[in-house]
Point group: C2
Chain length 145, copies 2
DNA sequence: GCGTTCAGTATCCATTCGGGAACTATAGCG
DNA sequence: CGCTATAGTTCCCGAATGGATACTGAACGC
C-alpha cells in the first residue's frame, strides 16, 4: 500500500530525487515529448526541439540512452542515419509528463498574471521606499532568471 | 477538445515551456513537495529539504512567491517568524507532481539497472578497443553528471 | 553588555551549462 | 577533384548555478 514511505524525495541521497533531477533538466522533457509521437533522426529532432544545438542534443540523448529511456539505432549507411525512439520505459514516462504538461498549459496564464502582479507591487514598493512613506516594505522581488 | 494544439511545448517561445523550465529546477519541486503536507517556516523548510542552503532556499521561495505558487506570511515578532504555504495554484500542482514522483519511485530501479548495463558495456567496449578487436564500437557513454 | 534565536543577505569562489562555430568521416554525384 | 549530406565531436568562452561562510538586525534573558 504505502510504498511511498520507502522513499523520501526530500532526502539528498534518495535515488528518486536523482531521477527528478535527471528528467528536470533543460532538454530531457522536450526530447521525450518530441519522441512521443514518432521515431526521429538526429536532425529531425534538432528541428523539432527549438533551440537545441547539436551538442546539447547529443549529451541529452546519450544520457537518455544510458538510462534506458531512449534507444538509438544506427544504420551503417552514408551519409549516416541514426534513429531515436522511446523504449518501453521511456514511454511509461509519457503519462506523468503529460500531466505536468497539461498543468503547465492550463495554468500558464495564472502564473504569468501572478508574476506581473508581483512585479508591479515590487516596483510600487520600491518607489514608495524612495519617498520614505512605507512601513512593512516587502523585500524586492529579484529577477532570478 | 484539442486545446493542446494551442501550445507547442517544443517551441522556444512557448510559455508552457517556460513553466516547465521553472518547475524543473533543482529545488522548486522539492519545496513544493515539502510544503504539501504542512505550513513551514524558513528553517524548518531548510531542515526538510536536504542540502538546501539559505541562499538557494530564499531564491527559490521568492520565485515561487512571485509566480503565485507559494505565499509568505511574516509575523512582526522577534526573532522573526515567517511561514510559507502553498497557494491554491500551488496546490493544484501537487497532482501532476505526484504522478512524476510516483513514476520516479517505481522506476528508479529500472533506470539504475539500465545505467549500470550501459556503463558496463561502455567500459567493455573501450577495453575491446584497446585490443583492437571490435567492430561497431559504441561511442563512449560519457559521464554527463 | 553578551549571547541566543530566526530569517535572511552579502560575498567569494568553483563548477557546470550551454551557445557558437569549426571540424571530422564517408560515399555518391558531377 | 570538390561538393553535399548526416551525425556528430571538439574547442572556446561567457553566463548561470550553486556551495561555503560570514554577517546583520532586533528583542529577550542573563
Amino acid at each position: 500500500m504505502d510504498t511511498e514511505r520507502e522513499y523520501d524525495v526530500l532526502s539528498v541521497d534518495c535515488p528518486s530525487r536523482m531521477i527528478l533531477n535527471r528528467i528536470g533538466d533543460r532538454w530531457t522533457l522536450l526530447i521525450i515529448v518530441a519522441l512521443s509521437r514518432e521515431v526521429l533522426r538526429f536532425s529531425q529532432l534538432r528541428a523539432r526541439v527549438g533551440g537545441a544545438t547539436p551538442k546539447v542534443l547529443t549529451q541529452t540523448l546519450r544520457a537518455l540512452e544510458r538510462d534506458g529511456l531512449v534507444s538509438r539505432e544506427v544504420f551503417p549507411v552514408v551519409p549516416p542515419r541514426v534513429e531515436y525512439r522511446l523504449t518501453e520505459l521511456g514511454r511509461s514516462l509519457l503519462e506523468p509528463i503529460a500531466a505536468v504538461k497539461k498543468w503547465a498549459e492550463t495554468h500558464v496564464e495564472e502564473v504569468l498574471e501572478a508574476r506581473e502582479r508581483a512585479d508591479a507591487m515590487a516596483s510600487a514598493a520600491s518607489e514608495a521606499m524612495s519617498s520614505a512613506s512605507s512601513s512593512m516594505a516587502r523585500p524586492r522581488a529579484g529577477v532570478l532568471g
